[in-house]
Subunit: 220 residues, 2 copies
C-alpha cells in the first residue's frame, strides 16, 4: 500500500484487538506504537496521545497524514478505502451488512463500554466498589450481552463457521476479543455453545492468531 499504517495499540485492549484482526484479515502491513493504559497514570492521557485522540483512548490508526479513531470506523475504513486488499469485512447485501453490524454493535455498544478501565476506576473511586464487586459488574454485562448474541447466532441460518457465513467479518472481529475478556474475568461460557464454536474456529485462523494479545510486542 502507498502510505504507511501506524496503529496506536495496547495489547490487552479489546478495541485494539478488533483492529489488529481487521488489519490482518485485510492483509495490511502496519507498525505498532504501544500506548500503555496503566503505566504512568495511563499514557493515553499524555499530551502526545491526547493531541491524536482527545478521547484519550486507543486504538488510533494513522494512515499517512490521516488520523482515524474508533475501532468500528477504522475497520469500515479499511473495507471501503480500496487501497487495502484482502477479505471484505462486511458482506455485500444491505440486510446482511445490517446483521453483521448489529452483531458488532451489540459487543461494542452494549457490552464493552461498561467493562472499560475508566469505568472500573470510577466504580472504585466513587462507589468504593471492591474488586469482587467490580468483577461481578463486568461479568453481569458480558453475560447479558452474550445471552443475546448467542440467541441471534443460534436462531439464524445465516450463521456459519463464523458469525455470518463461513468467512470472518466485522462481527467476528468484535466477538473474539470480547470472548478473550470474558475468559480473563472468569465468565462461564457453558451457556453459549455457538459463541464458543465460532471463537474456536476464528482462533484457528492466522489473522486471529497473530492478533492475540499475548502475541503482541508489548504483552506483559
Amino acid at each position: 500500500m502507498a502510505a504507511g499504517f501506524v496503529l496506536y495499540d495496547y495489547w490487552r485492549s479489546s478495541a485494539c484487538y478488533r483492529v489488529r484482526i481487521g488489519l490482518n484479515l485485510k492483509g495490511v502491513c502496519y507498525a505498532q506504537k504501544p500506548v500503555h493504559l496503566v503505566r504512568n497514570g495511563g499514557e493515553q492521557h499524555g499530551a502526545e496521545h491526547h493531541a491524536l485522540n482527545p478521547m484519550d483512548a486507543v486504538p488510533v490508526l494513522v494512515h499517512g497524514a490521516e488520523v482515524i479513531r474508533q475501532s468500528l470506523a477504522i475497520l469500515q475504513y479499511l473495507d471501503e478505502a480500496g487501497e487495502a486488499g484482502g477479505a471484505k469485512l462486511l458482506p455485500t447485501q444491505p440486510l446482511a451488512r445490517a446483521r453483521v453490524r448489529s452483531l458488532a454493535l451489540l459487543v461494542t455498544c452494549d457490552v464493552h463500554p461498561l467493562n472499560n478501565l475508566r469505568v472500573m476506576q470510577y466504580l472504585e473511586r466513587e462507589f468504593d466498589a471492591t474488586p469482587p464487586a467490580r468483577e461481578a459488574w463486568m461479568r453481569h454485562w458480558m453475560a447479558e450481552g452474550f445471552r443475546a448474541f448467542e440467541a441471534l447466532l443460534a436462531s439464524d441460518p445465516a450463521t456459519g463457521l463464523c458469525c455470518h457465513g463461513d468467512e470472518p467479518t466485522l462481527a467476528d472481529a468484535c466477538l473474539i476479543p470480547q470472548v478473550y475478556n470474558a475468559n480473563r474475568f472468569g465468565l462461564d461460557l457453558t451457556p453459549f455453545p455457538t459463541i464458543r464454536r465460532v471463537n474456536e474456529h476464528c482462533l484457528s485462523l492466522p489473522a486471529f492468531e497473530a492478533a492475540r494479545p499475548e502475541n503482541q510486542p508489548d504483552a506483559a
Copy 2:
C-alpha cells in the same frame, strides 16, 4: 417504498431518537410501536419484544419480513438499502465516512452506554447509588465525551453547519439526542460552543423537529 417500515420506539430513548431523525432525513414513512421502558417492569423485557430483540432493547426496525436491531445498523441500512431516498447519512469519500462514523461512535460507544436505564438500575441495586450520585455519574461520562467531541469539531475545517459539512449525517443523528439527554440531566453545555451551535442548527430542521421526544405519540 414497497414494504412497510415499523419502528419499535420509546419517545425518550436517545437511540430511538437517532433512528427517527434518520428515517425523517431519508423521507421514509414509518409506523411507530411504542415500547414503554419503565411501565410494567419494562415492556422491552416482555416475551413479545424479547422475541424481536433478545437484547431487550429499542430501537428495532421491522422492514417487511426483516428485523433490524441497533440504531447505527438501522441508520446505515437505510443509507445502503437504496429503497429509501432522501439525503445520504454518510458522505462518499472513505475518509469522510470514517470521520462521520467516528463522531457517531464516540456518542454511541463512549457516552450513551454508560447512561442507560439498565446501568442506572444496577448502580442503585448493587452499589446503593443515590439519585444525586447516579446523576453525577451520567454527567461525568457525558462531559468527558463532549469535551472530546467539541475538540474534534472545533479543530477540523470539515465541520460546517452540521458535524460534517452543512448537511446532517449519522454524526448529527447521534449528537442531537445526546444533547437532549445532557439537558435532561443538567449538564452545563457552556464549555461546548460548537456542539451547541450544531445542535441549534439541526433542531431548526424539520427532520429533527419531528423526531424530538416531546413530539412523539407516546410522550408523557
